[in-house]
Subunit: 396 residues, 2 copies
């Protein structure tokens, strides 16, 4: 298998992101349009210069009974070219980015607009819970499990396996809220302390309310180009699967698809792990961040919480990783926990955040200095779909 | 833009198709599994030798509230690799085939399993009508239009533009039922005469019941390979869009996206149109077949019905096309009208039918002799998404 950029690097030409949050005045069309317009402006392109529109969305068919989602978003922005709608549960956004890359790599498109969008806050808690749970296996669904309970089982198994106290689960949440304070697009700009997380209501043992990402609305867009000089390039893409339900896995304190997807993306990129200065990873629950850091290889199994706890606080929490002098920032956006998790948008937002940080396009107050390489990590379900992308500053 | 098979041709290594019809004992998983198992058997592959699973499905999220559809089907067949679910209304199947081609062309996969599946007959007529209508524009939806009425308006405009009698709309249905009689996988094996079509109940003027494709269950699968010698190859792929609603189009007696997608696919294939001996095209309504034949260029505008009426009857209706000695068979499967239209499966079934006809793999009684080149044409909505593929007999 060759690198995704064999035929020349694929650049990030434009980025767009709406604020994430409870956006009751907005629809999926208006959210998508806002992020698309912003990305086109940054790229200096008209919509007619786009060869393909890829939409990542999980829920609009279920919650609003609407289909032909690619053409629906296209209609809103006056685009009449080919469209695709991809769905891979909460990894729909990362999957959309990958389809954009493949279309360019296959030489069927020069410039692809990828938009991830989700509108989750217009329905009841029961409805959204049921809709989200549809991404799990039928066995889990009919047994009455929820995603908090599925990840709760993974967390319990993890804590027992590595002989850890429950309270270590708080560290990703504490860090990500510290980061979210700096991000004006984040759903929450609010500090939460270690004690507060550990005293928040128990949702599904051992997961507490403040270990869980929120229900959110939002959209993010990227314009990928195979022909233009861009400041930031996507140099690796990995996509992996696993069994749909937890009961199909031998070990539930690790996520096999994270390992596989990260390895593929890193191999393609030609980078070594210590070059990565930022990773936007999928902290749908705090346990997911711990598993991801370990499964990608940033530390040994069982050590992620301690690694986060011991981070240098320098605006961002900078995690000490062997061989990485500048330190690793994890979830500068605030992650899913503080930035919010509009599920179809998340995977695209991760690419937007990393591209903007590398391109020094976020507000000065929250720029990661001298950042050259970053990665994204997007999970569908409890790990049956994982997408990883590696981005770097262009040498052009 | 280069040909999709620049880096070596992409072969059809295996095919599978369930019977189409009202299959009340089956679910989307069991249908998908049947077609997948058949395709793997034909290819001589184990599921573990597949690099990517692409699922085309439009309705399961809406009708059954289930998501993560790629992983859902994967789970049923014991596949743990990467999966994608694509949705493009009734062109979801063709879109899935194209994503499979792109993944191989982009060198991220060697062998891709593409499955299209739909389960439509378990809900009420009102529910399925509403779910289908979700692929149209909001303006059409809220005005109370249905797809029969949208295509009815196209048919009325077409008949007036070319000064034709309503009864010519019957010819695609009469022909496709004659073809369906020969296909054991077709939903209907029943002759219908010209008079009968024209006396069937009016659904949306001028469209009558027997101008309309049915509601169906079914699945179809193809295994695409970039590395194996195959008897049949996909040598061209075209994907085009248009405005979502009819009100966005200047002419509604033509389908712009059919023209664009067919031109792209034919250009890629390096073939001229008279080489095509079979086209499986999207006759969701009889008007759609007439528009498709004309927009692809098999005859002049307004002439398709006469062309079909004057076909030689030689088992199949063989249409006289300038430069094509053997004649053109249109919808040997029976088309959407007689074979059935499980929407997400249709675009994949078209590729299965053409590949099997070229590879001489259908029952002797219904083989098209000396067939070298065939094409498929799959429409989403009223033409906002169109996919065309061109297949040929391999020279290896």
């Amino acid at each position: 298998m060759s690198r995704i950029n064999d035929s020349g690097n694929i650049g990030v030409m434009g980025t767009g992101q709406t604020k994430f949050g409870e956006l009751w005045e907005e629809s999926i069309e208006t959210l998508a349009k806002q992020s698309i317009d912003e990305s086109l402006k940054e790229a200096g392109l008209d919509i007619s210069e786009i060869d393909l529109l890829v939409v990542g969305n999980k829920l609009v068919q279920q919650l609003e009974g609407r289909a032909h989602v690619g053409a629906l978003i296209a209609d809103e922005v006056g685009y009449e070219g080919p469209t695709i709608h991809v769905e891979g549960a909460c990894a729909s956004g990362g999957l959309a980015v990958r389809q954009g890359l493949l279309a360019i790599k296959a030489k069927t498109a020069k410039r692809v607009l990828v938009v991830g969008v989700e509108k989750m806050t217009d329905v009841s808690v029961g409805e959204i819970g049921r809709a989200l749970m549809s991404a799990a296996s039928e066995e889990e669904y009919w047994a009455g499990a929820t995603f908090p309970s599925i990840y709760g089982m993974m967390a319990r198994a993890y804590l027992e396996k590595y002989n850890l106290d429950e309270d270590v689960l708080a560290w990703p949440s504490v860090k990500n809220h510290d980061h979210g304070i700096m991000n004006p697009l984040a759903q929450y700009q609010k500090k939460i302390g270690f004690e507060k997380v550990n005293k928040s209501a128990l949702v599904a043992d051992p997961l507490r309310q403040l270990h869980c990402s929120p229900v959110s609305d939002g959209a993010a867009a990227v314009i990928l180009s195979g022909v233009d000089k861009c400041e930031v390039e996507i140099i690796g893409s990995g996509h992996a699967g696993d069994s749909l339900g937890l009961h199909g896995r031998k070990k539930i304190w690790t996520m096999k698809a994270t390992k596989t997807a990260f390895k593929k993306a890193l191999n393609e990129s030609g980078m070594s792990i210590e070059k990565i200065g930022l990773v936007e990873l999928h902290d749908c629950f705090s346990i997911t961040e711990l598993l991801a850091l370990e499964d990608m290889g940033f530390c040994k199994k069982g050590k992620a919480a301690t690694m986060i706890k011991n981070a240098r606080k320098d605006g961002y929490w900078k995690i000490e990783v062997e061989g990485n002098r500048g330190g690793l920032v994890v979830n500068s956006s605030g992650g899913l926990k503080a930035c919010g998790h509009p599920v179809g948008a998340t995977g695209v937002k991760q690419v937007v955040e990393v591209a903007r940080q590398i391109g020094q396009k976020v507000d000065k107050t929250r720029r990661i200095k001298e950042l050259e390489v970053g990665a994204t990590h997007n999970v569908g379900g409890s790990g049956a779909t994982v997408l990883v992308h590696v981005l770097k500053k262009s040498r052009n």
